[in-house]
Symmetry: C2
């Protein structure tokens, strides 16, 4: 039953902006004022999900028949439209997220977003991402191909670059040949709607199936679980809180549906005594910039620092404390983020962490919380590793101080899976032995190991892994950032055995006009077969 | 508490053959006589699993430090030992499984097994499987690397080639750099033990960590679930019944541990009227051979045939019925398989399938059941698609007869995920339009699409996909057969960002002495960097 009125935003289903089927509505909050923004968005009923799934199944079938370059053209056209709509997108995102208009939204995240779409378009056009493999002697050929309708749940912290109808997951799912059903993040629904408008126009301009991109804003938890487990769904991508993600994972797992999650990560940074002896001031500056960037609301924010006790460590902590204390606290994304950050800091203190600077209650006039630095001994950490790994999402970091490198390694052994792990050490190699020990413990725990570099930059590179062992993600074999790797999540492996040549997918035919890299009889080549 | 006596077989834990910790024992059955074989095997307690996991963690750490060629040498040495121990292995497997000694066990499965190990060794040595990727401009390099201890549960139907300490999963897990904890299939524990003996010797000869290969024979269901979910476990491979597999999957999923499953598949074969008009006799012969091969106990056995009604179809069914009726029923793997086959056939009859030939009770003097052919209309099938997809594992097939191609396509739309799907059609292309329709419905449902060929041959090819959508497997992006693809299941993706050159894994260093194929700045090459 629809109770839509003209003041409630429409959903995008099957190519039409239409009234949602809903009982309730919600509003986003302006984090700069802590006031609700007076625009109503529907909480869609199952009927909306059902209609979107039906339309997506048809779109998936049509997309499989289209030449790859047509899908690539859509991604490029959409990227151009995003660039052209920059001002409106930045304005909406600033209002809904409080992220700085410049450079962050306008000059960093927006170009990253349109360039991701262009990189995905190039991958789609060439087809190399699909690892086409040809065994001429056995008469078998294989590649990854579309997996079916992809449901995407975007996070609150990157309204453009990880947005459910604009971000990396979106680009990857579409480039792999799949239609997308986007679920807007409830903290920036209007921003997401503006993206979907551009996508819908780009679809018309390039002749893709109308339901290639669909948008709903919110569902009940149970309908979300039903969506990811529905027989019509091919796969799901989710970035957000661990609790909501695990509920979706349980539902998808039970139905045997792939789900790719990015859940939480404290991103351990190890700083050796050698590094501090060599360049403490430099690292103070690098760390503070990384830790407070975007008010600490990055998936790869350095939330946990591991140090060896001593005077240089005390001085380092004191210098970071001064920096944190003297830097104005940025705006957080939403009242929920501020509340959760405050609760996490309280928990860490309960477990025995010592507050060096910050803490307290969130600000009342806007969404904000004091820059916060906590310390604990490795002994404390080892007595409650789970508790001390409580993610404090935002501008707070916990420093864990070990008696020596062995105890530091023991603490690493108790870490959960993380997206990243960093080792800062003496650049002259004076502590290479210790670093080898540390790396051998840290590497299996993380998706990306860094040296002498903070983790907050996530380059869109073919060699990037934005992933890691559970609970950072749901599977340690996949990356959410980087082309072509990120596309593989949304591909189904298919072998063609003795299939007649004219029936093979274009990518596996003898001729290779797109110059895809293909593994032919054990050798990677861009050549034709034969 | 151990109650071991000298008559109970020891387990292989941490490099020693030692008394198991157990309360109960079990015996395998000789399917040729339906009599228990008088050798006792322990049902291990959690203490055995726990000890194996601890040892595996240490072995995993050591394996990460070893050069790849040393792991490859182990696989090759083990392969040679298997070839040399052929007679004893064949004898044991014949006694425990009833599979023919020749050609099946001695001349097909055994050489396949040792050659799989050699192919995995070659992949391990070169490192190309790990998709090493280098972005020189960004200073980021990535590859797949070991995921940690791998638990393997092998099936009953391939005691060598899919065995938990000898088969494809084993070869892949080891070649990817991981130790293996094998759980023997309870129907052939002695065969598995003989393999583990050879593996243990090869480990000594090549200096690998003693716990690289460990063996237990059976656990309680709850300990099996605990094993796959244990924090020390990296990943699990399972091939077997759907119910046991789904229980393990639920446990592993909940703990965020990758699990690769091969569960069940009816392997639909579509035969068009054009194919029957052209070469009905030929297809009768191909189908019968494939359907009764190994007494129908292949994962890719053609259990469901889809046809269009008409006189040629009637004649085809009648000819198959004659062949089934006049061919002696082979021996089944175990009393459980015979019982389950009989129950499945009964269920299909209950749902409305018509018995053309076969059916009835299992034979009493040995494990066997009459070759069975059933038919149903597509209308019946569509009224209960789940029921009619009951897997009748063994020498039974169901033929579903549609009114026309459209109804046949509708039936395909109701299929679950399968390992394979075949289309037999007019070789002159007379029914290509129908085939296009059929293929567009069938391809998304299967891991491997075949033309004019039965599905039972699973070539060890780089282009092979022995996988498919749920419930054929747990994830449609992975293959259990084929090198290098099968190794990726047991790999963790790791990025090295700004990591100092001498600290990079060998595979990602500038020099590339193993001539691994690497994706350097967008181009696949075997060259060094720079």
């Amino acid at each position: 039953m629809s109770t839509a009125t003209s003041t409630v935003r429409p959903v995008l289903v099957a190519g039409s902006w239409r009234d949602a089927d809903y009982q309730k509505t919600f509003r986003a909050t302006d984090p700069n004022s802590n006031e609700p923004i007076p625009v109503d968005f529907p909480v869609s009923s199952w009927e909306d999900c059902d209609a979107a799934l039906d339309a997506a199944v048809d779109a998936a079938r049509e997309l499989r028949r289209l030449p790859r370059h047509q899908i690539a053209e859509f991604l490029e056209r959409y990227a151009d439209r995003i660039d052209a709509a920059k001002d409106a997108l930045v304005e909406a995102a600033f209002r809904e997220t409080g992220l700085a208009k410049s450079p962050r939204l306008a000059d960093v995240e927006l170009p990253r977003t349109s360039n991701q779409l262009r990189a995905a378009a190039a991958a789609c056009r060439s087809g190399s991402w699909a690892l086409p493999t040809i065994d001429t002697a056995a008469g078998i050929r294989s590649c990854y191909e579309s997996i079916g309708p992809v449901c995407l749940f975007g996070p609150n912290n990157f309204p453009f670059a990880f947005g459910s109808v604009s971000g990396g997951d979106f680009a990857a799912a579409i480039a792999a040949g799949n239609p997308v059903i986007g679920k807007a993040n409830s903290s920036h629904p209007e921003t997401t709607r503006l993206f979907a408008e551009q996508a819908a126009e780009a679809i018309k301009e390039t002749g893709l199936p109308p339901a290639t991109v669909q948008l709903i804003y919110r569902t009940s938890h149970s309908d979300g679980e039903r969506l990811v487990a529905d027989p019509r769904t091919g796969a799901t991508g989710y970035t957000g809180s661990r609790s909501a993600g695990l509920a979706l994972k349980a539902a998808a797992d039970k139905a045997g549906k792939p789900i790719y999650l990015e859940l939480s990560s404290v991103n351990p940074v190890v700083i050796t005594p050698g590094a501090l002896a060599e360049r403490s001031d430099e690292i103070v500056s690098e760390f503070t910039t990384s830790a407070l960037m975007g008010t600490g609301q990055f998936c790869t924010n350095p939330g946990l620092v591991l140090l060896v006790q001593g005077e240089p460590t005390d001085a380092f902590i004191s210098a970071i404390g001064d920096k944190f204390g003297s830097t104005a606290a940025g705006t957080l994304l939403s009242p929920a983020v501020a509340k959760s950050l405050s609760a996490s800091v309280e928990k860490l203190c309960e477990y025995g962490a010592k507050l060096i600077v910050g803490g307290g209650e969130p600000e009342s006039g806007r969404c904000a919380y004091a820059n916060t630095l906590l310390t604990a001994t490795a002994k404390d950490f080892l007595s409650n590793p789970e508790g001390f790994q409580t993610e404090a999402f935002g501008n707070a970091s916990l420093f864990v101080i070990a008696d020596d490198v062995d105890q530091l390694c023991e603490a690493i052994r108790h870490l959960e899976g993380n997206l990243t792990g960093c080792i800062y050490s003496d650049k002259q190699g004076g502590d290479d032995d210790a670093c080898e020990k540390i790396a051998s413990e840290l590497t299996p725990k993380v998706g990306r190991l860094l040296n002498d570099k903070m983790p907050t930059g996530v380059a869109v590179s073919a060699a990037m892994n934005h992933g890691g062992p559970y609970p950072a993600t749901g599977h340690p074999g996949f990356t959410a950032v980087g082309v072509p790797g990120s596309l593989l999540r949304f591909g189904k492996l298919t072998s063609y055995d003795n299939v007649r040549p004219h029936r093979l997918p274009a990518l596996l035919q003898d001729n290779n006009p797109s110059e895809a890299w293909r593994l032919i009889d054990g050798k990677w080549t861009q050549a034709n077969v034969g």
